[in-house]
Structures are given as structure tokens and as C-alpha cells.
Amino acid sequence: MSNIITSKDLCLWYGDNQALKNITVDIPEKSITALIGPSGCGKSTFLKTLNRMNDLIPIVRIEGEVCYENKNIYDKDIDINELRREVGMVFQKPNPFPMSIYDNVAYGPRTHGITNKAKLDEIVEKALRDAAIWDEVKDRLRKSALGLSGGQQQRLCIARALAVEPKVVLMDEPTSALDPISTSRIEDLIMQLKEKYTIIIVTHNMQQAVRISDYTAFFLLGDLIEFGETDKMFSNPKDKRTEDYITGRFG
């Protein structure tokens, strides 16, 4: 299996405060990678370096490399909008736009130049089906997305991300704001998605990491302590600190 994203000696500062220290990691294609670690260790920060969402924060400074399909995404000639189309993102809190369900899903395709109505209809339906929410919303596509429940909103946001046909989907604690039933629906969904997409997911929930991920990366205070296959890491951690964390001795 080839690696779709690789980072090399990646360092990131918020002003004078270093949040990521020499992160070097290779993320395999069409797999689920979980990022775990105590609060403030830099999981979200690392995730956002992968599609340059950190560019929105003026004080951020970055050194090192992140390569997506063997091209450094911090090169000057990179088209950031195209990068974000291919490396999509789902956020911790569901954030549908205050528009109709249909317009939410069509937002991405329209952004990238698709205007044909029939084509848009097709994309919207496919994305909603892929995100396992089609049956619940097919009769109310023109209604506001804000009227959906939290779990439905999050699946809608996943559909919105899928509608631009990304190759990688970054998810930052996508289930932390949801009830157990919505959470398990979204976990099932994520496991189906890895047939077509590479998924990188931040989670605070060890069981979730074990249930759904193929690989796990453990962060601590801005360092990547350990990266490897989830089964192996949880049954036989190499580093003492990883062991302490996954057995619940801190964090």
C-alpha cells in the first residue's frame, strides 16, 4: 500500500509557542488513521497542517515538509483551493451553512465550477447516500439544514465534504458532540468510507480508535511518540508513555 500523505520534520509555532516538534510520519492510502493524545498535545494542529487550514491563523509559522501525493503542499506554486478539495475536512462541531440541505451539499461542487442542474442533483444524491443520510432527508432537501438533529447535521457535513470527491478526509473529533447512537452510525459510516477514501481522525476515545482505525499516532506535548498499526500499538506499545496513556494512567 502506498503512502498518500507524508510529513517530514514538520514543526509549527503559534507565535513563540511551539505546538508541533519534528513530526515525521507516513500515512497509508485507503486506511483509517487515528490521532490520539491528551488535550493540547497538537492533534488538531497537526490535522490542520495537512490541508493548510492553519493558513487562516496569522501567527502560525511552519517549517519542514508535508507531502500529499509526493508533492510538498507548502511549496509556493500549490493551489490551496484545489488541495482543500482533495483533502477535505469535517469539524468537531457540526457546522452546516445556514442554507438548505441541498445547497449545503452543492456548495463544494458549485465552488469548483459545476453548474449543470442534473449533474448537481446527481452529485448531491450520491454524497448523501454515501454519508448514509439520504433516506432521512430526501423529502426535505429544500429545507434548512439547521433544522436537522446534531447527528444528522454531522452526517450532512460529511456528505458536504464527500461531494467534492476528495481523496483524503480529515476529521477532528467528529463524534464528540454527539449521542451514542449517532456516534455509532458515524463510526459505521467511517469504516465504509475507507474503501474509497483515506481517513485521518482525531479522537479522545480509545475504544473508538481501536474499533475503527487501522493505524494510530500517539502525540504528547507536540511530539509524535509512536505510530503504528492500531492492534499492535494497543496490545504491545513500544514506548512507556504510550502504554501509560492507553491504559488510562494519565490524560
Partner: protein, 279 residues
């Protein structure tokens, strides 16, 4: 214990007194103006221009001028104010400069309007003649801070998560602003707009210098380049120069009702958008 009760009683009484005095004053003012004004509002007054020959006073030109000046001012002030707010909130990186501009805007909105009139006279009336256009441009300067600040405040209430969501889908900055940010701050723009209309209708000092007192009927474009009195200016002229108090009170009643409607619509816009936000 007893002392305390008496004390509370007195304070309560004092508060009731202040509240009812305020309420009575407002009611009295309202009632007085409406009672003296409404009987003088006739169809002839509303639909004709003044004529010395016929010995008749009509305020149609003043109504038209008011409408012209509102439209002309808004056409200029809205894009300027909204544009400035978007720039300050979405693009400007130097927060110090942003704060300085916000401070300047706040100060600007506290300056007495007659000073705007004086400056407007030198800047605009000297170039375009005493005209609705010169008046409107003066009002643009006066209302720019209001429109900018209300838009800015409302831009700040657009959740950052909307912007992140849109950027995360690969939208460029301008697309994010146009499709997600601006629709989210529509209520601020409308509020700024209504507040400005209120100020324009109520303004007299700044317009006395710049737009003049004429009562001729014009269409919008010739109106722009000719002098003309708005309702408020006309009220001043009729009351102060011509002693026509019946007309003055009629105009006053009209202005009062307009103000009431403007306040109502501000509240309604607020309610409408609050409702839309929490569907």
C-alpha cells in the same frame, strides 16, 4: 426592620414617579404633535407644491426631495460602508490600524451635525452647487460610520465555523465572503440602513447649508442637481420664517409617524433574523 421597609417604600415611590413622568412626557409630546398636526394633513397639502398666487402651501416637493435624498445617500453609503466593514473584518491584518479606524468612526458619529454641514458646504456645495446631491454626499459622510459599524458588529457574529467550513471545501476568500459571510450579516446591513434612513429624515442642520430650501417639483435626476428642502428642513422654514404653524405641525406629525414606523421596522428586522437563526 421598619426603617428598612419605609426606605424601600420611598425608593419604590420615587422610581414609579420617574417612570411615569418619562412615560407621560413621551405621551404628551406624541399626543400634542399628533393632535395639532393630523387635522392639518390634507390631500391638497400632500399632493401639491406651494403657490403664492393660489395662496396655497403643498409639501409634495419636500416629500419627493426627502425620498430622493434618502435614495441618493443610501446608494453611495451602503457599498462604501459595507465594503469598508468587510475589509476591516475579513482582510485587514494590522489590528492596531483596525482599532484606530473603529475609534475614529465612533468619534465621527458623535460630532454635531452642523459641523458636517459646514464641511459639506465647502467640499460639495462649492463644487456641485447647493443641491440634493451636495446634501446627500454630506449625509454619506455622516452615516458612513453608522453603516460601517453595524455591518462590522454583525460580521463578528457570523460564526468562524462557517468560514472554516467553506474554506475547507476549497472556496477562495471572495467566494467565502460572498456566499457565507455577507448573507450572514444581512441583518446588520439592514439595521444600518434603517438607522441611516432615520437620521437622514431627521437631519436639518447639515442640510440647511448644503441642500437649500427650494420647493420645486423635480424628477430624481434633475432633483439631484437642484436645491431642495427635505421635510425636516421645510418644517424649519415654515415654522421659523413663514410662521405657518399649521403646516409645520402637519409635517411634524408626518415625521413622527415615520420615526415610529422606522423604529418598528428595526425591531421587526431584529426579530425576523433572530428567528431565522434559531430554526
Amino acid at each position: 426592620m421598619n426603617k428598612r421597609k419605609i426606605y424601600i417604600g420611598i425608593m419604590k415611590g420615587a422610581m414609579y414617579f420617574c417612570t411615569s413622568l418619562t412615560a407621560l412626557l413621551v405621551l404628551f409630546l406624541f399626543g400634542y404633535v399628533l393632535i395639532k398636526g393630523i387635522p392639518n394633513i390634507t390631500w391638497e397639502l400632500l399632493s401639491t407644491k406651494p403657490s403664492y398666487l393660489a395662496g396655497r402651501i403643498g409639501i409634495l416637493p419636500d416629500i419627493l426631495n426627502t425620498i430622493y435624498i434618502v435614495i441618493a445617500t443610501l446608494i453611495v453609503v451602503l457599498p462604501l460602508g459595507v465594503g469598508a466593514a468587510v475589509y476591516l473584518n475579513e482582510y485587514a491584518l494590522n489590528k492596531k490600524v483596525v482599532e484606530l479606524i473603529e475609534y475614529a468612526a465612533e468619534t465621527l458619529s458623535g460630532i454635531p451635525s452642523i459641523i458636517y454641514g459646514l464641511v459639506g458646504m465647502l467640499l460639495f456645495s462649492n463644487n456641485f452647487g447647493t443641491s440634493i446631491l451636495a446634501g446627500a454626499l454630506t449625509l454619506v459622510i455622516m452615516n458612513l460610520p453608522t453603516v460601517m459599524r453595524t455591518t462590522q458588529e454583525s460580521l463578528k457574529t457570523v460564526p468562524q465555523s462557517y468560514r472554516e467550513g467553506a474554506f475547507g471545501l476549497g472556496a477562495g476568500k471572495w467566494r467565502v465572503i460572498r456566499t457565507v459571510v455577507l448573507p450572514g450579516c444581512l441583518d446588520g446591513v439592514i439595521t444600518g440602513c434603517i438607522l441611516s434612513i432615520g437620521r437622514i429624515i431627521g437631519e436639518s442642520a447639515a442640510l440647511l447649508f448644503t441642500a437649500g430650501f427650494a420647493h420645486a417639483i423635480n424628477d430624481f435626476f434633475t432633483g439631484l442637481t437642484s436645491p431642495g428642502a427635505t421635510l425636516t428642513v421645510a418644517l424649519y422654514v415654515y415654522a421659523k420664517e413663514e410662521g405657518e404653524f399649521a403646516v409645520a405641525f402637519a409635517i411634524a406629525a408626518i415625521l413622527m409617524i415615520l420615526t415610529l414606523l422606522i423604529n418598528l421596522s428595526t425591531t421587526m428586522v431584529g426579530k425576523y433574523f433572530a428567528k431565522r437563526r434559531n430554526i
